[in-house]
Symmetry: C2
Subunit: 349 residues, 2 copies
């Protein structure tokens, strides 16, 4: 059977309608679409065809049609019209993000919140992946009371810290920090392994007086703090929107998704599975590998720094989500973040 232009238009109309109402769409409703100008009987015939082709599903005889996963897929790939975001929304976004530019973690968090405000769906964002980020400085602060703080700063401006319970005194702390900074700065997290640490250990042992035990202790913590850099944070926002959708009236289903979203491990797997490119990525219903998302759709986009993927922004909603709007929102926000992140880097080149 041929998916001619008319069938495409009808399919589009059905899915548009279903996205709005969440109710099976009957032939009568589509016959009222002006541009088509067809009677319900004709639509019925076409609908039967579209069902046979796998794009529609009939929940039961005498109900209207509902898009199948394939239907949504085709809609996303070839049918849906572009969504135009309002100017106020765009300006608002500018304003909100600009304010946060001075704190990397918060910038990303805010980006997630803006996305959920734009789309009205649940969103998640990951903090920039730092495994290739270069270390800029290591600081060691003796806080007194037998506590010492190790602080690692990357060239992207991310800061991680770690406390250990021993006291070095201010002088020793400073000297140690200087050695560590000179030995490690410019290296990426991936380049620092136990061997490298051992090498530094030797240098310190020869130029400073520190008990071997303290030294090992400190270096372990430095190593741990550095490794901690590559641990991506994930922020989820607007989970409550899930309860808005009639498809989650069933509390058991909603609960399943909530549980899934509250477990960071699940989200990490989810993120790892997404693509790496610049484009927006969509996973519809059963295409999801994670069981609880089998009747959700997931739309993700990468943001990047130095043309390298650094993190993801994603939207999770019912399969009948407003894809056009989500695409437009993610597109806008990801390019915006890219611009902010790369601003400084471009300056230097």
């Amino acid at each position: 059977m041929d998916l001619n232009d008319r069938k495409r238009k009808i399919l589009q109309a059905i899915i548009d309608e279903y996205i709005g109402t969440a109710e099976p769409v009957g032939s009568r409703a589509i016959s009222k679409v002006k541009e088509l100008g067809l009677s319900s009987a004709t639509i019925r015939n076409e609908m039967a065809d579209l069902e046979e082709m796998g794009y529609l599903i009939q929940p039961h005889t005498s109900a209207g049609r509902v898009p199948s996963d394939e239907g949504y897929r085709f809609y996303v790939n070839s049918l849906m019209s572009r969504y135009r975001l309002g100017m106020e929304a765009i300006e608002n976004l500018h304003l909100e993000l600009e304010k946060r530019v001075n704190q990397l973690d918060k910038l990303i968090k805010k980006a997630g919140m803006i996305t959920s405000a734009l789309t009205e769906y649940t969103t998640f964002v990951t903090s920039p992946e730092q495994s290739l980020a270069k270390i800029s400085k290591i600081d060691i602060v003796d806080l007194g009371s037998g506590r010492t703080l190790v602080i690692v700063v990357t060239q992207d401006g991310l800061v991680r810290n770690c406390m250990l319970s021993l006291s070095l005194g201010n002088d020793n702390s400073e000297r140690l920090a200087a050695i560590l900074t000179s030995k490690l700065s410019g290296l990426s997290v991936d380049e620092i392994d136990f061997e490298k640490i051992r090498e530094i250990e030797a240098v310190i042992a020869s130029s400073m007086t520190l008990s071997p035990k303290s030294l090992v202790n400190i270096l372990n913590f430095v190593y741990e703090t550095i490794s901690d850099l590559s641990a991506t944070e994930i922020y989820v926002d607007n989970v409550k929107s899930i309860l808005k959708f009639p498809e989650y009236r069933d509390v058991a289903k909603a609960s399943e998704i909530f549980g899934f979203l509250e477990n960071k491990e699940n989200l990490k797997k989810l993120i790892a599975s997404g693509g790496d490119g610049k484009n927006i990525n969509v996973v519809i219903g059963d295409e999801n590998t994670a069981e609880p998302l089998k009747d959700c759709s997931l739309v993700t986009v990468n943001y990047s720094l130095d043309n390298r993927t650094r993190g993801k922004i994603g939207v999770i909603g019912p399969k009948r989500m407003d894809y056009a709007k989500v695409f437009a929102s993610l597109d806008l926000i990801s390019t915006h973040i890219d611009r902010i992140l790369n601003l400084y880097h471009d300056d230097s080149s």
Copy 2:
């Protein structure tokens, strides 16, 4: 009417039962409680009395009784028996918290997760309030590419940072950091105001060559970063548990609470309203000022440092929550955190 011993025992039995089942409790069920050894008819009479006294409510004739807010209140204050946590739970807690001791933020976050695991209710925790925390060090790092990072460290080991887009060079950064540290260390966030900053501005202007614009810029950001210290973070965990309770089968109600919990402003108000003492605090149903919590109970406890309240851990659940268990859990975890936090401070005194 007199609330004699028998009435108390019956009330306790009813509430215990209701906490377990969430179903109105009938006289038959209570007549089966061995220790009482009373017939259902007697119980009925007593129940009628308890209702008249305001401790019980009958949803409709021919239904059993449900505790009123006053009933719960009396139960919490005078009736409930102590709950004994299992040894494995306690040991597990030790282990989990000990691992996190090296990162203040994470320690607190973990404490919330443990509480939600122990109680199976939604929990929240606030990061330690830092308005009285003393500044230990200020560091300024030139990241290159026209970005400079300001890092503030408190004596508690909390680290906050802020990025600004100007370049000072390494030497200037270090010198500036040294001046700021010497002028600000030992002061609490509250003690640093615009006047103080202005004073520092003068010192810097006289001893360094910096464009006045950069200087103002930097000091603004330093001030902002310091102010940011006193912004308490709130972590919420195990929200999904709310959907487990039959009282939230109604999605609209659940949604209301979810919305409430996702808005940090609401939570901040909630926290501000709680007591300041060492004791566990309970707010039952209508006693809550926040509308969406009117049929929830809220149990909070403060954790402290230097005998000063620093933050809160709280549990939110249905009014028929297992108060005994929640009390025991919160008690355990708060004393544990207190111990960990004060460990170092005790050393120094």
